[in-house]
């Protein structure tokens, strides 16, 4: 057979996601769904984690495993898909709401979205087969667009297993990376050889005016000795992990539910800022706070703090530093980096205040899309 001279480039592939009501948890993703573009720069391929084993059996004097020693089953497996994407306004809340399974929304065009873990609005473990309200439980079907007809794939009922928000001041924009998880690996849950037909076989845009989110903050404060103090931030990131895992096995071998936040949902991160007059190793300052193990409130705001215009963002996090690292030789001047985990503050032994709160104003609804 002669060779094929076709060469494919990365821009011929695409990833599309589409929210669906959790009542359709067990319903396979469809090929005529209008999937919305996840605007990744590099498209990754799904990783199939199948149930496999293979070892030499008895009655084999030849010492080489035979083909029938091998076992592989799609039933009971799971699928993951890694991605990295520059955050756009229309997509940010959708991903963050999915990984934390929390979302509320007010207003209509513009919409103000809130994702919160606090004493008054604690994260709630979702029932992934229950009816979705305000988009929660949030599950996605994922369309993986190949370069030609009949080369597409569909991932059913995926949930973000992890998500990292990286405000990199050097890159200048917010980058998101994470991993989708689906407990549907069977031939009816992870579909190959498909032809995705909606929108002429292409994912639609989440917004016709896609706007990337820049890495800057009008307000950037961190507690020093219990007082909110302005910082010159050089980088800040948050990582959300929910330990989602498949539960059960239906007649097809697919998940019957997902376990979420077992034993916990973990929010960690890292912030780097200048070693300066506000932040240093003086008494009652950064190092002393770390040694004392005192949680600090981190406040980051794009806009004036009243989230009402498209693009405005507030992040509030109660952080517990896990180390204090120094880069005293940085080209831009000495830098302090504090890795942290987000904790729920308490008062008199009871949860009190905000662990993590994200507010964002954009022009799209996240309750149904």
């Amino acid at each position: 057979m002669a060779i094929s001279s076709k060469v494919y480039g990365k821009s011929q592939y695409a990833i599309g996601i589409k929210q669906k009501n959790a009542t359709a948890f067990e319903t396979a993703g469809a090929d005529d769904t209008a999937y919305q573009l996840l605007p990744v720069i590099n498209v990754s391929a799904p990783v199939l984690n199948l149930v496999e084993s293979g070892e030499i059996r008895s009655n084999n004097a030849g010492m080489i495993e035979t083909d029938f020693d091998q076992f592989r089953s799609r039933k009971g497996g799971f699928v993951t898909l890694d991605f990295e994407v520059p955050a756009e306004r229309a997509g940010l809340v959708r991903l963050l709401a999915n990984v934390l399974q929390d979302h509320s929304e007010s207003g209509a065009n513009p919409y103000v979205h809130t994702i919160e873990a606090s004493s008054s609005a604690a994260l709630s473990r979702p029932d992934f087969t229950g009816s979705s309200t305000a988009g929660i439980p949030s599950i996605f079907d994922i369309g993986l667009y190949g370069p030609a007809s009949g080369e597409d794939k569909i991932i059913t009922s995926a949930v973000l297993q992890s998500l990292t928000m990286n405000f990199d001041m050097t890159d200048g924009r917010l980058l998101l990376n994470g991993t989708f998880y689906s407990g549907f690996a069977s031939s009816t849950g992870f579909l190959v050889g498909q032809t995705l037909s909606a929108n002429s076989g292409e994912p639609t845009l989440m917004s016709t005016s896609p706007t990337q989110i820049e890495s800057y903050f009008d307000t950037k404060q961190f507690d020093v000795n219990g007082s909110a103090t302005d910082a010159i931030v050089t980088a800040v990131s948050f990582t959300f992990e929910n330990n989602v895992a498949r539960v059960g096995r239906d007649a097809n071998g697919d998940a019957e539910a997902y376990a979420f936040g077992v034993p916990s949902v973990n929010i960690t991160g890292e912030i780097s800022f200048m070693y300066d007059g506000n932040y240093n190793d003086g008494a009652n300052n950064v190092l002393q706070d770390f040694l004392d193990g005192t949680p600090a409130t981190l406040t980051l705001q794009q806009g004036d703090g009243t989230v009402s215009s498209v693009g405005e963002m507030n992040i509030t996090a109660e952080v517990y530093s896990t180390a204090v690292n120094y880069d005293l030789n940085a080209d831009t001047g000495a830098i302090i980096t504090i890795p942290f985990k987000v904790v729920q503050p308490t008062a008199s032994g009871s949860p009190s205040g905000t662990a993590f709160k994200f507010e964002f104003c954009d022009a799209v609804t996240n309750s149904s899309w």
């Binding site: 706007t211 806009g303 009402s308 215009s309 498209v310 693009g311 405005e312």
Partner: protein
Amino acid sequence: MKYKHIKGLQLQKPSYLKTPNQKIRELLEGKEVELNEENVAEFESLGVQVEPVKKEQPKKKKVKKEE
């Protein structure tokens, strides 16, 4: 009617707006700019706040009545 910018316009990408760039720049510079209903509606849909400029009424001179 002329308007002044209150908040939110600096976060928008001018190329996506139907309001002319020059008006956007002048609003961001703090100038009073003539906007039509479409411009104002577009800003409202983005949560951009502008306020109409009220013309100051000329103060009436008090006339002392001669007794």
